[in-house]
Point group: C2
């Protein structure tokens, strides 16, 4: 008997699935906006450029939410994915590095449209500290350990130059931040237990360069040249070694 509704013991969700869920989310929101009450795995799959079986498998990990012969209820599925992702909660975000990039991120649709709340902005430049960006004042990095709201933000976004990134990451970790999203083109070191993800322009460009070269070199699609990807990297750290 498949677990019904709010699953008390959620199955293990593979990392590969986790990164697809937000994509399905976005497609669902789109379809809901277009008035589609219901959506099939086939439709989701086409838009996401994946196999329909994969969509069904992914979604079935969250529970049995579809209706045979009909598909999935759009709004209901959105809610379920939200729940699985934990997005229904409030995750305060601190952005460190309020240059061009930081400002762009703060004002971006990525934050506002998806319920993440920017709690604090930090910079080191005295000309920037004290400025108003959106609804917030930029604070000095050294005040990181005592956030405006009194509690450490859940997520730290690093949008400083590469040279400052490690130092900022250290400061975030010391302040009790449990996860870091790094935009600086720099490999970071953080303690085990801190969630770390990278967003990196030059890495993406290099990956594209690779596939461009291949597409050009082999006239025949040696690697099928239609490589469409959502940030398809996977340097996920497993346990360094379960102590035997």
């Amino acid at each position: 008997m498949p677990t019904d509704r709010a699953d008390p013991r959620p199955r293990r969700i593979p990392e590969a699935t986790v990164v697809r869920l937000p994509v399905y989310q976005r497609i669902l929101a789109e379809r809901l906006g277009a008035g589609e009450q219901t959506v099939s795995s086939e439709q989701l799959a086409e838009r996401a450029r994946v196999n329909a079986a994969k969509v069904r498998k992914d979604l079935s990990l969250l529970g049995s939410f579809g209706t045979r012969g009909t598909g999935y209820d759009t709004a209901f599925l959105i809610a379920q994915i939200d729940r699985a992702l934990g997005v229904h909660r409030d995750w305060p975000v601190a952005v460190v590095g309020i240059g061009n990039l930081g400002r762009a991120l703060v004002n971006s649709e990525g934050f506002s449209l998806h319920g993440f709340r920017i709690a604090d902005l930090y910079d080191r430049d005295p000309n920037v500290v004290g400025q108003r960006v959106g609804p917030l004042l930029v604070r000095h990095i050294d005040d990181l350990h005592e956030p405006a709201t009194g509690e450490a933000p859940a997520i730290g976004v690093v949008s400083t130059p590469a040279a400052a990134a490690q130092e900022v990451a250290d400061a975030l970790v010391n302040a009790g931040v449990r996860s870091i999203l790094n935009f600086a083109p720099r490999v970071l070191t953080v303690p085990l237990g801190v969630i770390l993800r990278y967003v990196d322009l030059s890495i993406e460009l290099q990956v594209i360069s690779f596939y461009l070269s291949r597409a050009e070199a082999g006239a025949r699609p040696e690697l099928p040249s239609e490589v469409a990807m959502w940030r398809s990297i996977s340097l996920s750290a497993r346990d360094p070694a379960p102590p035997p």
Copy 2:
């Protein structure tokens, strides 16, 4: 006998490896800057947070470049990875959408430090068109089909608002651009054969949210909570179906 030096028939390189190569690159550059002539798979692995065997396997796909008992020659390995990635070539890039984000990207270390040449800037806003950004003038989107340099750029970067992204992608494709890096929070549709990658703040935040929830829920590290990742998504499109 392992193929030596410039391999005329390069092995197939798995996608998973392709995305790690730029990371190794960055670490190597770092070590070279620190004066390390040579580096071991163990050292690379530690910094990249991966298994050393993986590093060796990845690198052995490019050829046999290491020296047993010693490790890899740092500078030489950098050159080899560059070659594998095709970064030694000139890939002109067009950036469409010169708002906060576009400007941040154009001025970022990601471009300048990694040899990608920005060939064209485009926007739709008449107030922006004609402006000077870095060494370039912003041109109007409608001039996309006739790029300043006369030849279509190899890579198109989309940094417009979500609402304009599909339209811009279409224009890029029509202009002959073979690959797109999309920063807009929007699922795009492009013809088969066009390389498409996404960089997406809100997706990353949602993925982090998932792991934060899990880390919090299960006191025991249900999924080992140290999930460190390089943009680990993988919605890669395989051939829709090899026509039978």
